[in-house]
């Protein structure tokens, strides 16, 4: 059965993020008032990286279950890490966790369960700054992803299939991404095909959509395109999504609209999980 390989330090998997940094990302983000799409993407990536690191955290430190890369596409197509990680294509999660650009402190307001509010200080590491310039060479980014994954799969041929998470407003300027996305999804480890998931950030103020199973309710052409190039969700991920009350039918795809993909990280199996409602 595919998508069953154990994720371990000896047999890690790979998360590769493709981040739209084109000029159009300076426009307002429909998912969150007062924010540009570029800010929305940077926040989403920083949150995803933070969640990946926390997922691998144990009492003694952090375990290298994941190798992680961020490719920006806009004025150029290149690895987007800054600081000591600059120009690195893939970085083991421990190294990533130890080298954010900075760690901000944010305040979260919570219900204290007794009618009052509780303020919680949270550490928010930042690896990626918002950028918006140039065109949208999504095809080039997908091609670079293929190159990077070829190397990763060569090193870990039995790995849980690498996950590529593309975050964009959808308007590729270097041709249709469908053929190159198809070639990316055709790559495989012994455990199954590479997974390509897409998050479409739109300026339209519309309700978020998560893991749909058809194009029917997607009103924007770019949404439909990104839906079409997204991989179907593997069965285990669908089951995990359903156990959290999300609808994920048998034909659901790894696509979200004006939403983030953080849930995908929760759905990966690293052993006994702690249900959300127990935390």
């Amino acid at each position: 059965m595919p998508y069953a390989a154990e994720i371990s330090r000896a047999n890690p998997t790979c998360f590769l993020f493709l981040v739209d940094q084109s000029g159009s990302m300076a426009k307002p983000f429909g998912g969150q008032a007062g924010k540009s799409k570029a800010q929305g993407v940077a926040d989403a990536i920083n949150r995803l990286l933070q969640n990946l690191a926390i997922k691998c955290a144990k009492s003694e430190g952090i375990r290298d279950y994941f190798h992680v890369g961020v490719i920006g596409y806009g004025k150029q197509v290149a690895p987007a890490f800054g600081g000591t990680l600059a120009s690195r294509r893939l970085v083991p999660i421990r190294e990533l966790a130890d080298h954010p650009l900075r760690v901000e402190e944010r305040i979260r307001t919570l219900d204290d369960g007794a009618g009052g509010l509780l303020q919680q200080r949270l550490k928010f590491p930042v690896w990626l700054e918002p950028t918006a310039a140039g065109k949208t060479p999504m095809c080039q980014a997908l091609n670079l992803a293929r190159e990077i994954l070829q190397e990763f799969i060569g090193a870990f041929p039995g790995c849980y299939p690498p996950l590529v998470l593309n975050i964009s407003d959808g308007a590729a300027t270097d041709g249709s991404p469908e053929p190159v996305a198809g070639a990316l999804r055709a790559m495989a480890s012994r455990d199954g095909n590479v997974l390509l998931f897409n998050a479409h950030l739109s300026s339209q103020v519309m309700q978020a959509i998560e893991f749909p199973d058809s194009e029917e309710n997607l009103t924007e052409a770019y949404s439909r395109l990104l839906f079409r190039i997204s991989s179907p969700l593997p069965e285990k991920i669908r089951a995990a999504a359903r156990s959290e009350g999300m609808s994920a039918t048998e034909t659901a795809r790894g696509f979200v609209f004006n939403a983030d993909l953080v849930a995908v990280i929760r759905f990966l199996d690293l052993g006994t999980r702690v249900a959300q409602n127990l935390r």
Binding site: I54, A57, A97
Partner: protein, 247 residues
């Protein structure tokens, strides 16, 4: 009453990454196993606190809030002062989690020589750490999981920071009577799932465990048996703990 313990870390993990815990006091007739949840931090410590507290003589059987609260305080006292990097803080603040099974065995029929002809056992469980009561006729009781298909990766858990009052609702209890010659087996989930799957397909997995008991001081015998099961795909790669109580 004789008891033996066997344990082996998940393949690819070192001994200090083992997150199961067990404890036993044959005089008090109290035994416990716990399985720290992989996706939580400081779970081995939490599992150990649970089992050690449970086997302390004189305690009630109940796994309830008043039993749990002081253990939660001890866990917090041990970890809250530690300086850890940002990525460790989230899981520390969520708390550690573990499944748990506690067992109290009592003798109802003591002979003059101190041996016991029979008695009762009572178990309390949260999650999928399991107890099997095995007699010469096979499995008498499987508790709290009865079918191999019912194991998942989201069992009920005892949390080191969860509201202690909700715990009484989550703990299941069972009891039974035993006779001399019976055995009680306590297993964490991976081995328990194998044990049930074998029984479901008409095998007698308790004989494999009897075989293992012949080499009590040979960790290599346990390792080669379990690694073979893992190689064949019969045993999930996970920490394994087994307690065998010969009555």
């Amino acid at each position: 009453m004789r008891w033996q313990s066997f344990f082996l870390p998940k393949r690819g993990h070192s001994a200090d990454e083992f997150e199961d815990a067990f404890a036993g006091d044959p005089v008090a007739g109290r035994f416990a196993i716990a399985d720290g949840a992989a996706e939580s931090s400081f779970a081995a410590l939490w599992a150990r606190l649970l089992v050690e507290a449970f086997v302390t003589p004189g305690r009630e059987l109940s796994v309830n809030g008043s039993w749990l609260a002081p253990l939660q305080q001890r866990w917090a006292a041990d970890v809250d002062g530690l300086t850890i990097p940002w990525y460790g803080e989230a899981k520390r603040s969520d708390g550690a989690f573990a499944t748990f099974l506690g067992l109290v065995v009592t003798c109802a029929d003591q002979y003059a020589g101190g041996t016991c002809a029979g008695g009762t056992w009572r178990g309390a469980a949260v999650g999928d750490s399991c107890l099997f009561h095995v007699s010469e006729d096979g499995i008498q009781v499987a508790f709290p999981v009865c079918r191999a298909a019912d194991f998942g990766n989201r069992p009920a858990l005892l949390g080191s920071r969860s509201d202690a009052r909700t715990c009484a609702v989550r703990a299941k209890e069972a009891w039974g009577t035993w006779q001399s010659g019976d055995r009680l087996l306590l297993m964490t989930d991976a081995l328990a799932q194998w044990f049930l799957a074998e029984a479901e397909r008409g095998q007698q997995p308790w004989f494999a465990i009897e075989e293992l008991q012949r080499f009590p001081n040979r960790p290599d015998a346990l390792r080669s048996w379990l690694e073979d099961l893992r190689d064949r795909g019969s045993l999930r790669n996970d920490d394994v703990t087994l307690l065998v109580i010969d009555l």
